[in-house]
Point group: C2
Chain length 286, copies 2
Amino acid sequence: MSASSALLDEEVRYKGTIELLKAVEDQHGGVIINIEEPMDSYDFASMLQDSLSQWRTQGKKGVWIKLPRKYSYLVASAVEAGFKYHHAEPDYLMLVYWIPNTPNTIPANASHRISIGAFVVNNNKEVLVVQEKNGRFSGKGIWKLPTGAVDEGEDVCDAAIREVKEETGIDTEFVEILAFRERHKCFFQKSEILFICMLQPRSFNIQSQVSEIEDAKWMAIEDYVAQPFLQQNELFDFLTKVGLSKLKGKYSGFSTLLTSTSSCKSHVYINKNDSAHLLTSKHHQP
Amino acid sequence: MSASSALLDEEVRYKGTIELLKAVEDQHGGVIINIEEPMDSYDFASMLQDSLSQWRTQGKKGVWIKLPRKYSYLVASAVEAGFKYHHAEPDYLMLVYWIPNTPNTIPANASHRISIGAFVVNNNKEVLVVQEKNGRFSGKGIWKLPTGAVDEGEDVCDAAIREVKEETGIDTEFVEILAFRERHKCFFQKSEILFICMLQPRSFNIQSQVSEIEDAKWMAIEDYVAQPFLQQNELFDFLTKVGLSKLKGKYSGFSTLLTSTSSCKSHVYINKNDSAHLLTSKHHQP
């Protein structure tokens, strides 16, 4: 046995005793490390290096580390090993490392926030409006449509119903999306899509939300549109006209169609007036 | 002078010499710390504590730390001081701390990814289709519509044109959004909205993208819809019918209207067929 092969043998035996980080395989040829217990940062760095060597040999692609905030003292070791940040939520940071020399096919981070504005009109031609406690309209006496953010995992149509209920106490039914607007860099580098939704009220007694809403009321549409802020904002002025046109049955936005695939249910938003004749019995209409 | 007031005096003089972290005020009563130079982690922790005390006295609300990845050794100190993660991009981590006792009004992190599917048909009633090198359709001989992710800061209509150009070399003009689909938890906890866009081709010679596309071609619509995968997927089958209906002028989706506010230009997507009569000369039609 030559000296070099003895060395190799020694190395192999040593490698045989090393401890790797616990990880599960993902569906894209990569692995996900979930750190769930406290670790010494030196041990972590050493095990991460050994694990990466092994995964490289095995032809693994993306390596993810989901690191709870309480183990933030390990972030620097992962960065030292070449990891980049992928995304973060309040209580964890996701880091990622791409092993192969081929182009990185790691999916991009979420890029958009989604919000809704709700156009709710009762049988007296009064529109449901609020005055907000915070934000750029607060303290200006402006009556505006209820608006809010769509939560992660929430359908746009459900978010509109939820926000109206939270802000005004009014129960509604989703009718359709009249239009939507996209804006960029409104929040750090992120983009936003605002869906203007028409809802049909199912209750009428207002109970406004104490924490965020100064006041809420049903307001005659002519008084709503006569507000200087609406007169000066061509977009909202136009969208109000679109909403009124919808009330007269002269406008078709996108309403919802519930579809299901092998993996999950999802909503499709479509001009159902124009496409109803294309639907077969296979399609579910909620 | 009493002992306690002497102590106070001493304390004030000491406070006068402390060094605070450099920060700029945001528009919501908060401050943003940009760490742009290396710092000792002990100094950072100490200055952060002093800065928070001062900002608390001043009635500041949200405190943001934008921490480049190269200073990841400071993450643990910020977490120790009570900061939570807000969001991350490959090269930085944004942390946030809410000072007041009032409810936290810090905006949520981006929640959605946006993607597009492009329906492009030429005058021979052929649809532009691709075979992908990666992903769940690769190696299955399936011809599908070009799809892709909308980048941060990119308009949906521009993303559709860009993806078609990148994948197939074909120049197109945006016509309208036929429909869109929302799905949840398709990417960690994030949601996705897929916009199905109709585009009008402006060139016809295909040059498919080497890195991501196995092949691209113009395919007779009847051959496209006859593929088993499309026959089995009621949603795509239905959306194809909607696209064909649009080609016959019998369907109205959402087309774009360019509007400008005081701060920025933005696109509004709306059923323009049904709302053209509501537009005034103030509105721009691209």
